[in-house]
C-alpha cells in the first residue's frame, strides 16, 4: 500500500468514515511486517484493538453474570406501577372534589344565588335599579318630547268643543226663532180671538 493511500485511509478512519473492507485493509497493512515505520503508533493502536477483539469472557463467569441478572428481584415499585396509577388518579379526583366542595361552602354568607342562574341577588337587584333608571330616563325624555303634541291635541279638543258650542248656539237660536214665531202666532190668535169677541 502506498503511504499516501494509508494516510488518506487513516484520516477517514479517525473521522469514522471508513468502510469495513477499508478498515480491514488498513489493519492488514499496519499489522504486516512491511508497514512503514512512520505509522508505528497507528500500528500499535491497531495491534491493541485486534488483541481486544480476540479476548473473550470465561464461560463460567459469563454464566454466573447471566444467572445473577435473571435472579435479580424486580423493584416492587415498578411491579405495582399500574396500581399506583389507579391510586394516584383516585387521589387527584378526590382532591378536586373536595376543593370544589370547600370553595362552594365558603361562599360569603350574604351572597345568595338567584335560583337557576349564575347571578347573585345583589347583582340582580342592581340590574333592576339600573333598568329602572334607564327606562325612567327614556320615559321622561319621551314625555318631554311628546308633551307639546299633547297640548296640540288638547287645543284641537277645545276647538272641537267650541264648534259644538257653536252648533248648540245655532240650535238655541233656531229654538228662539221658533219660539218667537209661536209667540207671534199666539198673539195673532189672541188678536183674532179679540176680534171675535168684538164680533160677538
Amino acid at each position: 500500500m502506498h503511504t499516501t493511500e494509508v494516510k488518506i485511509l487513516l484520516e477517514k478512519y479517525y473521522e469514522g468514515a471508513t468502510t469495513l473492507p477499508e478498515e480491514r485493509q488498513l489493519e492488514a497493512y499496519l499489522l504486516s511486517p512491511g508497514a512503514d515505520p512512520q505509522f508505528a503508533a497507528e500500528a500499535r493502536l491497531f495491534g491493541h484493538l485486534a488483541k481486544a477483539k480476540q479476548e473473550t469472557l470465561p464461560t463460567a463467569a459469563a454464566k454466573e453474570i447471566e444467572q445473577r441478572l435473571q435472579h435479580t428481584a424486580p423493584n416492587p415499585f415498578y411491579r405495582s406501577r399500574q396500581l399506583w396509577y389507579y391510586v394516584g388518579g383516585i387521589a387527584a379526583a378526590l382532591l378536586i372534589f373536595f376543593t370544589v366542595a370547600i370553595s362552594f361552602y365558603r361562599q360569603p354568607a350574604n351572597t345568595h344565588f338567584v335560583a337557576g342562574t349564575s347571578y347573585t341577588r345583589a347583582e340582580a337587584e342592581a340590574a333592576v335599579l339600573q333598568t329602572q333608571q334607564a327606562l325612567a330616563f327614556v320615559s321622561a325624555k319621551w314625555t318631554q318630547g311628546t308633551e307639546p303634541l299633547k297640548k296640540l291635541g288638547t287645543l284641537q279638543n277645545t276647538q272641537d268643543k267650541m264648534q259644538n258650542l257653536g252648533a248648540l248656539d245655532r240650535n238655541v237660536k233656531t229654538i228662539n226663532h221658533s219660539m218667537t214665531k209661536a209667540s207671534e202666532s199666539l198673539d195673532e190668535l189672541e188678536r183674532l180671538s179679540k176680534i171675535k169677541i168684538v164680533i160677538n
Binding site: 338567584v114 329602572q132 321622561a140
Partner: protein
C-alpha cells in the same frame, strides 16, 4: 345533492340575516369603550330581565309591575356614557365618533333639546314592531347612548316613570 346545497345556502343566508338583525351599529362603540376609564357602561341581558319578577316580588308599587311588564319583552339594555372629567378632549372625540355612527336601518322619531342637552330618539323596526330604540344623548358635560332591544312598547315605557324623578344618568354604576 343540488337540493341539499341549496337548502344549506338558504340556511346560511337566514342565519346571516338573523345575526345582522340582532347586531346594533353601536356594538362597536360599546366594545371599544366598554372597559375604558371614565366610561359608565351598563349591559343588562335577557337572563337578568327574566329574574326581575323574582327580585321585585317584595317591592311594592305599580311602577314595579309596569317595569316588569316592559322588561319581559326586552333582549338587552346597553348604556355607554362618558362624563367630562379631566380629559375634555376625550369627550369631544367620543362625541364626534358617537354622532358619526351610521344608522342606516334607523329612523328618527324626535329630538328633545333643552338647555344645551339634546336627546335623539331613533328606532329600528322589524315589520310593525320596534325592535331597537336608541337614544343618542349629548349633554354639555356628558355624552353617550342608551340602546334597548327586543319587543319595545313605547306606550308602556311612556307611562313608566312619572313617579321617578330622574334627570341625568349620574346614578348609573358599572355592572357589566
Amino acid at each position: 345533492m343540488k337540493k341539499i346545497t341549496m337548502i344549506a345556502a338558504a340556511l346560511v343566508l337566514m342565519l346571516t340575516g338573523a345575526t345582522a338583525q340582532t347586531q346594533s351599529p353601536t356594538d362597536a362603540l360599546f366594545d371599544k369603550y366598554g372597559a375604558k376609564d371614565g366610561f359608565t357602561t351598563v349591559h343588562i341581558t335577557k337572563e337578568l330581565f327574566s329574574l326581575f319578577a323574582e327580585v321585585t316580588q317584595e317591592a311594592e308599587g305599580d311602577d314595579m309591575q309596569e317595569l316588569n311588564k316592559v322588561v319581559q319583552g326586552l333582549d338587552f339594555i346597553r348604556i355607554l356614557m362618558l362624563k367630562d372629567t379631566v380629559q375634555s378632549r376625550q369627550l369631544t372625540e367620543f362625541r364626534n365618533e358617537l354622532n358619526g355612527v351610521k344608522l342606516k336601518d334607523f329612523s328618527e322619531l324626535m329630538t328633545v333639546n333643552e338647555g344645551g342637552e339634546s336627546v335623539k330618539f331613533m328606532i329600528r323596526k322589524n315589520g310593525k314592531n320596534i325592535n331597537e330604540l336608541l337614544l343618542i344623548i349629548n349633554q354639555p358635560k356628558e355624552a353617550g347612548f342608551i340602546s334597548i332591544t327586543g319587543n319595545i312598547d313605547l306606550k308602556t315605557i311612556a307611562k313608566l316613570s312619572k313617579s321617578m324623578n330622574i334627570d341625568g344618568m349620574e346614578n348609573l354604576d358599572k355592572i357589566k
